[in-house]
């Protein structure tokens, strides 16, 4: 992995204007993705993972967002591009899949037209060519009888199918990077597995980079090579997937893992719960952001913010006392690695 990364996010800071004032939703996030690699971004609701994803494509309205830092895509900073240049990146070089396939498709357009749209836009295909391409993409994403489906409307197909259509839209222009924002959260468990498998399969075939945003550590274990754990707008830990599961360092990461219910666990084993709730972004704690919920926090944690320290093996942790929390045999117990 000595090659230059496909996407490099450096110290990204995103401020959003809201009803009650400006909120710094993402504060100094740094990570990178190589071509052909899958990076997982994990965290609870409100930790800024979706904001990070949408900031890469600059999907927010210009008037209420301020970015700082860099989003380097193949060396160019996306944050510096003009609107028109950005439009030629979106859906073409980098594409995105959203969480809720029910509401993310236009209800009054046929799915064929929606897939064809970016092909016409970026590839200059004619209506007929684009339609043929749409059928192929539907076939590729495993939708049966695509010739008929292409003329149907979103309400006529199931949720899993719709997410496949979303994937087809995202793949249309053979992007080099695909961002998937909780692509399976709104789906049934059996469908979830199929969709993940599809994404993994397509990635292997096309060699694109994937950023998988999820709150589900199971998903991460299944398909990611590296993982960044986010908490309250910051990356608190980043490591290769095995490294993270076997040697988690940050108390928050450990807490996350311990809160997974286990099918094969003892019935009376108490499910671990991280104490307290995620504080509001408006009231970011001084010092370590996790300190108020961390049972190992001391004076230093409450007053001084820890930097993101990276060790030689590429494992990065934002904690004054990495590894302080007992891991038990979490990863083994999880049974994720078989």
């Amino acid at each position: 992995m000595a090659t230059k990364p496909l996407l490099e996010v450096k110290d990204l800071k995103v401020s959003l204007a809201t009803e009650t004032g400006t909120v710094v939703a993402v504060d100094g996030v740094t990570f990178h993705v190589h071509a052909g690699e899958t990076l997982g971004i994990v965290g609870e609701s409100g930790c800024g993972k979706s904001v990070t994803a949408e900031s890469i494509l600059r999907l927010f309205d210009q008037e209420d967002v301020t970015y700082s830092g860099q989003v380097l895509y193949e060396g160019t900073d996306l944050l510096q591009l003009s609107d028109r240049q950005m439009e030629s990146i979106r859906g073409n070089e980098i594409s995105m899949i959203f969480q809720d396939p029910m509401s993310s498709l236009n209800p009054v357009q046929t799915i064929g037209k929606q897939i064809a749209e970016s092909l016409k836009l970026h590839r200059g295909l004619s209506g007929k060519q684009a339609r043929r391409a749409a059928v192929e993409l539907l076939r590729l994403t495993g939708i049966p009888s695509p010739e008929q489906r292409v003329d149907e409307h979103p309400h006529e197909i199931s949720g899993g199918m719709r997410q496949r259509v979303m994937i087809a839209i995202a793949l249309a222009c053979k992007p080099k990077l695909m961002i998937a924002d909780e692509p399976t959260t709104a789906l049934d468990v059996t469908i979830q597995a199929q969709i993940l498998e599809l994404i993994g399969h397509l990635q292997a075939e096309t060699g694109m980079g994937v950023i998988m945003i999820t709150h589900d550590l199971g998903v991460v274990a299944e398909i990611c090579a590296r993982v960044a754990v986010m908490y309250l707008g910051q990356v608190v830990e980043e490591a290769g997937v095995d490294d993270l599961f076997y040697r988690p360092q940050h108390p928050y990461t450990i807490g996350l893992m311990r809160s997974i219910p286990r099918i094969d666990g003892e019935r009376n084993r108490k499910l671990h719960v991280i104490e307290g709730t995620v504080p509001s972004l408006r009231h970011v704690p001084a010092g370590c952001r996790f300190a108020p919920r961390c049972k190992y926090a001391d004076e230093r944690c409450l007053h001084r913010e820890p930097p993101l320290n990276r060790t030689a093996d590429g494992h990065a942790v934002r904690c004054w006392y990495p590894g302080i929390a007992p891991v038990e045999e979490e990863a083994h117990e999880l049974g994720i690695f078989g």
Partner: protein
């Protein structure tokens, strides 16, 4: 879709029955004897009785209703006592000006409303948005005859480039025809536009906050194109509803505007018939206009299916 149309048509039967009963009972709401009122104070008993039997008022009420409804169904809406001709004839003579006026007004209204509504939605929160919203607020608050009177003042006294009263049929040439309808058309159109523009703006804003707008943006569609290719069609259902309903406002507005601008249309016919106590003309005209309004709304309902495939499906 065919079955749906039939079902919708059937559902109109009770509505039209109630409409017919209401229209029929107009004459019986009159305090006192309609025949006596019609003939004036000098009429003697014999004349009144004669008029009564001529109007069919001497029969029991259910029989009167039976005769009347049978007449309606066979296209006979009775005789105008004042105009000495069948009501249908009097009505259809006057229909042309009203149709022209409503078509022009609705065209002005819808065009203006879409323009204003879309602009306001695109520039939400700006001064332009606020001016559009203020205009629309004024438009729904101003009575049509006040706006009309003000325009008459402006054009009749100051500008003098357009006639402020009268009417020429289409057979007299397109421009002479239009010339007389421009001012009344603008009055009605502006008021229509005020209402439709509000709905256009709010329904586009509703759609803009939906998730699939983000999908479109992530595909690389230009923000300006998104409004026309994605937002407008989805937001068209509520807009269509208002346009359909606004035909009712148009018809009632026409009654006032025709009186103000002295256009010999259906509205003026109805209004003039009030003072003449020409009940059969009032009944017949109100019935015909209402039936037309009911069918316009039915057509709008059926159009939904064309615009929104979700409705098409649920109605199959």
């Amino acid at each position: 879709m065919g079955g749906y149309v039939v079902r919708r048509l059937l559902s109109l039967v009770p509505v039209l029955l109630v409409v017919a009963i209401v229209v029929f009972s107009i004459i019986h709401l009159t305090p006192g004897d309609p025949a006596a009122i019609l003939l004036g104070e000098e009429a003697n008993k014999a004349e009144i009785d004669d008029m009564k039997s001529k109007m069919g008022l001497d029969k029991p009420i259910y029989e009167q209703f039976g005769i009347w409804i049978w007449g309606v169904l066979s296209g006979n809406l009775g005789q105008s006592i004042f105009l000495h001709k069948p009501v249908t004839e009097a009505f259809f003579e006057r229909l042309g000006p009203t149709l022209s006026l409503t078509v022009i007004a609705q065209a002005i209204g819808v065009a203006l409303a879409l323009l204003l509504g879309i602009t306001a939605a695109k520039r939400r929160g700006t001064a332009i948005d606020q001016s559009v919203m203020s205009f629309s607020m004024l438009g729904i608050s101003i009575p049509s005859f006040l706006l009309g009177s003000l325009l008459v003042m402006l054009f009749g006294v100051k500008l003098r480039c357009l006639p402020v009263a009268g009417y020429q049929p289409l057979s007299a040439g397109l421009w002479p025809h239009l010339k007389y309808l421009i001012l009344p058309g603008i009055v009605l159109g502006v008021i229509q536009a005020a209402l439709i523009a509000r709905m256009t703006r709010s329904s586009i804003l509703d759609v803009l906050s939906e998730n699939f707008m983000k999908t479109a943006k992530a595909k690389g569609v230009k923000e300006k194109t998104i409004i026309y290719t994605h937002a407008l069609r989805v937001s068209f259902i509520p807009i269509l509803t208002v346009i359909g309903e606004s035909f009712g406002g148009l018809v009632t507005g026409a009654a006032v505007i025709e009186t103000l601008f002295n256009i010999p249309g259906v509205g003026q016919l109805i209004v003039n018939s009030i003072s003449r106590r020409d009940y059969s003309v009032i009944q017949g005209s109100v019935l015909l206009v209402t039936v037309a309004y009911v069918f316009i709304n039915l057509i709008v309902d059926l159009l939904y299916g064309l615009v929104d495939p979700r409705i098409r499906l649920s109605k199959k």
